[in-house]
Amino acid sequence: MIFLLLIYAFILIINVPGLIKRKEWRDLTAFSILYVIAFALGLMYVLDIPIPSPMKGLQHLIVDILGIEYPQG
């Protein structure tokens, strides 16, 4: 938990001042979006909230819905 906060604070410190100083607003927005997503995911992981796996969804899509699958074994 603490690790998580420390790491994300660290990331913030390294990146944000430079971006603000150079007035790179677009970069800053992109950074913020990804930062929030990363932080949310990290938080979910630490708090043991199950994170849906994209591959499971893909597997479901391809195998069950489209029916394309290699035979097992």
Partner: protein, 368 residues
Amino acid sequence: MSIEKGKISSQQLLFLIAGFVLGSVLLIDFTVGITEQQTWMVILAALAITAPVILSYVVLAKRFAGMNLVQMNDMVYGRFLGKVVSTYYIFFFLMTLSFNIRDVGELYITFLMPDKPFIFLLVVFTAICAYAVTKGIEVLARVSHLFVVTGMFVIISTFILLIDQMDFSNFLPFFELPFIRIFQGIHIVSTIPFGETVAFLMIMGCLNKTEHAVKNTFFGLFIGVVSLLIVAVRNTAVLGRTQTIWTSTSFQTIRLIDIGTVLTRMDFLVGIAQTILIFFKCSLLFYVLVVALSQLFGLKSYLPLVLPLAGIEVIIAATVFQSPVDHAGITQNAGIIYSIPLIFVIPPLSLLIAKIRGLPKSERGKGT
């Protein structure tokens, strides 16, 4: 116009590709369970199938010299569709990178450090990859020589050390397995080590001279293929029938080295080499991912995105699969199917469209 200011030479491209393919050396374990003693054939067949596709990548890169994949997509498919295609690619890079990071974690957890918490390993590994990426492609290109030489040294020396334990009759009978399994094996090998070189479409834009790109790409690919073949042959010859039951065939093979009671327990050697090679592959994939994403957003530099993406990647790598069993199962099915369009269809299609429409014109436009 491009984000990356660095330039790489053609020869560095050779080693980059060789190192990238070498990074997948342990990943042929996915196919060994399916294709057993015919794995070497599968590798050769996959090479034959992917060679023309990879050729199309290089020709595409030469045509759109200096541009990377996202820019190419924009030009070929128009603003909106191009961005959609690029997003598809970015998803692919994101997922593939997380698989590879997870692979390293699984390697350590199963063999080398079974008691350590998984996520810790992932965080450390990803952090180092992120650091490598912030240094830029030029640095990666410069160290590629070293990594490739190290990898090849380990592969060749382990092969030589095991010669007395090899039994070449283990390759018989040829053509025993039903074709569908061979087909699946070919599919896996053409996607995982070879098809992932589609990532290089992002990197080839940095070539300073594109004349020898084709030659160097194929030479690099050749080095990668030869290494994979040596590993596959070594594993099959030594382990024979048992190769399908081990979690990691390469590790078990190395454990059998027992020469003069001095050269034993060499599996650390494979561990080191594999870690270095996967690190290289992950750094490249990470670089490609970051640059692609920042190109898509139209940013000035890709640096700010590195760390948040690293954070996302770690969590995805930690949660996407439940266990190596899951990982193998999904990779052998959905994993290779969803990437078919990206690897086999879209680049040749882009090339075709570009040829037809005479792109790139010196003035940007969709047929002005």
